[in-house]
Amino acid sequence: MPQQQIQLTVNGDDHTVTVDPSTPLLYVLRNELGLNGPKYGCGLQQCGSCRVLVDGEARATCQLPVSAVEDQPITTLAGLSGEDGGLHPVQAAVVDEQAAQCGYCVNGVIITAVALLSDTPDPDRAEITDGMNEVLCRCGTHARFVRAIQSAADAVDA
């Protein structure tokens, strides 16, 4: 498909990119905008690694054409921190709990947890594992992520 100009709003900033409109959002974010949060994991929307928030909803970007999100606000991992660089409570909780081994899944975990907590501000363990179930982690760091999400919920509550 020929290239087109596409308007994107990412992490509060407006961008114009010239790409094939069928390009998955993932590659535009990573290669055109230099945003390393969303990761390539499977290309099949099976693992969650490439998720971003599209209008507040956690969505896989590996098959999502960039043209489909032209008018919607997109937030990546980098956009969760405050302008002063302060971490979002979920990011801070992952650091505090040292909830990572290789950390490749951390993007999908945090993005999904932020969406989960906006719908369910005070989740119990079952609600967390249910909400996180589409995100894969291979190192077995799940238990730490659950603790981190719980403590982020408590921090937001407080």
């Binding site: 390009t23 991992l77 290789c102 179930n133 077995g140 760091t141």
Partner: protein
């Protein structure tokens, strides 16, 4: 990425050569008929018998690279750069290395910058494998740092006109009375070039500030911010993107491909590269590379690949394959008592890295540079020389973390792919991101294994005789100088045949029970199986411990004994008893309801590294089981970072549970059919048990490798818990297919 490290030649020494050859001899025992066995497979550090530490007072890496500035450099800005020949694989090696350097230099770990494996820059520590990074690399850094502290104090004392005993070291500064100077000032811009010839006096246990503390990893904040962390994140000016088109099966060859159509139809195609049956495309954009890959697939004709044995159950197929036998131990077949026997099976298991392998290459017409998450930058370099026809001094390989690998995944293969492509497109950075199906379908799996166990249980309730036969393929085909071990090496025009069988001894890792048994026979039978295999976390220990611990559970039941008491009856090592007692204590007040079961597993990894015990609670639900709780205890000697150790134990238990419940690489007669997560399901959040990890610190004992310790015990514990909950013994993995 920081590329400002000075180039130094820290790579080779005559000593390393000597140890290399000595180790190779050990590996080759019993396989003299196989070609190439005189050359090491590169897994010497995975072979405890070949561990050069046994013949030296110094940690082996330090004995090979004794100059202090090979490990440690003092920077002008108050920081210290610590060099390790190991890679960050998600195990947090950087913080552990920073901690030991900080401890011995009496300086905050915040000042330490840890430089990961890079050819020509860091010591050549071969592979980051076998859980020896702490034992070999961190211990080397520690002794180098302690020696550096002594030298710094002596030099400062001279400059201050004081006695070394009167010089204090505090956070990068040396002082006495009202005089003080930073490390860099004392050295006057020089580095410490003295060699370490003997173990240094380490800081006394009761004065330690950093070792044993849960110092946080610095990289996790970078991860949560989405900063550049992984090789997948590297971006270079003018970088182009590549994709490889795989054959339909291992034995297929490329007969014809319509390159012109692809180049005409797809925008942005820089070049289609065809070299024998190695087929790839390089394009300006990543999406364009993907489109061109698809077009190439549609325009390529391949020969019929050889058939895989899809019609026979794998267990039967393996038993029927020709094999070569090696005696692991044989101290008699005597022993009276009730005969208890069983066969156990583990299928092929994949590493399944969440991020498929990736590498970047650049060839400037003279030198080739590779950015890779390989576990062995030097062996990779030495293997690439033949593939790209460049001498080793013209190849630089820089380690950059990737997605967790848990052993030898596609990391080296993608680096070899990108090396071939970079040579074709000089002066451009070429990035190759493997697709999910490349990783799932082409990585070297953990070997399928079969274990026959027969024990004699005496009237006194102790085991009188133990017979164990294990069938396994090799457990390492790391590059090791053999281009045939790199995927591309088998498909290029001058394809390399495999010339060695790699690290066969991995198949009998932990096949000798750590229990006290009056007579034992263990034989290993090596077959050449249908799928590509290499090192997966724990090598053969996972399946062997599964079989041993399942049998221990069964024998305890036959002896009408408590499973913990039964194991204790056969253990003399108090450290083994201590980890078992720790999990028994954690689980002792747990209520076990109807359809529930509690089970135990124990092993000392490699029978020489960490002690680990696991208790598991499961709940049977119709035909399925849920693992609800895991308790683990580990003794890894002196703990460098208790939180890192706990993280490894928690993760190991969860991953092991995933392997044993769910995982099985499936194939049809053409190729592997487990090409995505739907056909190879791993444990998800809802299935993950509550885990509790206990770490036992032994401050006066050497630190031991821990990253692979839980794989066997956790599978053993879950299997025994399932037997209790369902009344049916687990003989064949994964549980959900049997």
């Amino acid at each position: 990425m920081s590329d400002d490290a000075p180039k130094r030649d820290a790579s080779e020494s005559s000593l390393s050569r000597r140890i290399f050859l000595k180790s190779a001899g050990t590996v080759a025992v019993g396989f003299s008929l196989l070609p190439g066995c005189q050359r090491t497979d590169g897994e010497t550090e995975e072979d405890p018998d070949a561990d050069p530490a046994r013949s030296s007072d110094l940690p082996p890496s330090l004995a090979q690279h004794p100059r202090i500035d090979a490990w440690l450099q003092v920077l002008g800005d108050g920081r210290l750069r610590v060099y390790t020949g190991k890679m960050e694989l998600g195990q947090g090696i950087r913080v552990a290395i920073a901690q030991v350097a900080a401890e011995e230099l009496h300086t905050s770990p915040d000042r330490m910058e840890v430089h990961l494996a890079e050819t020509g820059v860091t010591p050549n520590e071969r592979y980051t494998s076998a859980s020896v990074s702490i034992e070999h690399s961190a211990t080397s850094v520690r002794h180098a740092s302690a020696t550096a502290r002594r030298i710094l104090k002596a030099q400062a004392a001279q400059q201050f006109g004081a006695s070394p005993d009167d010089v204090d070291v505090d956070d990068g500064t040396l002082s006495t009375g009202d005089q003080s100077a930073t490390f860099a000032e004392v050295l006057g811009g020089e580095q410490i070039t003295e060699t370490v010839t003997a173990p240094a006096d380490l800081r006394p246990t009761d004065e330690r500030e950093w070792v044993g503390e849960p110092v946080q990893r610095k990289d996790i904040e970078r991860m949560v911010r989405g900063d550049e962390v992984y090789v997948q994140d590297l971006q270079f000016e003018g970088m182009v993107h590549a994709r490889v088109v795989r054959p339909p099966g291992y034995g297929a060859s490329l007969e014809n491909v319509d390159v012109q159509t692809v180049q005409n139809e797809i925008d942005g195609v820089e070049q289609v590269v065809q070299n024998g049956s190695f087929l790839a495309v390089v394009a300006d954009g990543e999406h364009q590379a993907l489109q061109a890959q698809q077009a190439l697939r549609e325009n390529a004709q391949w020969s019929e690949p050889s058939s895989l044995p899809a019609d026979t159950p794998l267990e039967e197929h393996i038993r029927d394959l020709p094999s070569e036998t090696e005696s692991v131990v044989d101290d008699g077949s005597a022993g009276e008592g009730e005969r208890v026997s069983a066969s156990f099976f583990r299928p092929y298991v994949m590493h399944g890295s969440l991020g498929p392998s990736c590498a970047v290459g650049h060839y400037d017409g003279d030198r080739l540079r590779i950015w890779t998450h390989s576990q062995g930058v030097y062996p990779l370099r030495d293997t690439l020389t033949e593939l790209v026809d460049l001498p080793p001094e013209k190849i630089e390989v820089k380690g950059v973390p990737g997605s967790g690998c848990y052993g030898h995944n596609g990391a080296d293969d993608v680096a070899a792919d990108v090396a071939l492509l970079a040579m074709e497109i000089p002066n451009r950075h070429v990035r190759l991101q493997w697709e999910r199906e490349d990783e799932h379908g082409w990585e070297p799996y953990g070997s399928a294994m079969l274990m026959d166990v027969e024990a004699r249980l005496g009237d006194d309730g102790t085991i009188q005789n133990w017979q164990f036969d294990v069938w396994s393929d090799t457990h390492s085909t790391r590059p090791g100088g053999d281009p045939g071990n790199l995927l591309a090496g088998r498909y290029v025009e001058d394809a390399s045949e495999l010339t060695s069988r790699g690290y066969l001894a991995g198949g009998y890792r932990n096949s000798i029970p750590y229990y006290e048994l009056p007579s034992r026979r263990v034989d290993a039978h090596f077959f050449d199986g249908p799928l590509r295999v290499s090192a997966l976390r724990g090598l053969g220990a996972h399946a062997n411990v599964f079989a041993i611990e399942s049998m221990m559970g069964e024998l305890a039941d036959r002896a009408d004994a408590d499973p913990v008491a039964f194991r204790r009856r056969h253990l003399e090592d108090p450290r083994a008893v201590a980890v078992l007692d720790a999990v028994a204590e954690s689980a002792q007040n747990v209520t076990v309801g109807t359809d529930e079961g509690l089970g135990y597993g124990f092993a000392r990894y490699k029978n020489s590294a960490s002690y680990c015990a696991v208790a598991a609670k499961v709940q049977a639900q119709g035909d399925d089981v849920t693992v609800t709780h895991l308790w683990g205890a580990i003794d890894a000697g002196e703990i460098i970072n208790p939180d890192g150790l706990r993280n490894q134990l928690e993760g190991g238990m969860i991953q092991s549970t995933s392997w044993m419940l769910n995982e099985e690489v499936q194939f049809d007669e053409t190729h592997v059919t487990s090409r995505e997560w739907g056909s190879y399901p791993i444990l998800r959040f809802e299935e993950v048990p509550v885990v509790e990890a206990t770490v036992l610190d032994r401050p006066d004992e050497p630190s031991l490798g821990a990253g692979e310790a839980a794989q066997g015990p956790a599978t053993g514990a879950v299997g025994n818990a399932i037997a209790r909950a369902t009344g049916t013994r687990v003989r064949s993995l994964p549980v959900r297919s049997s």
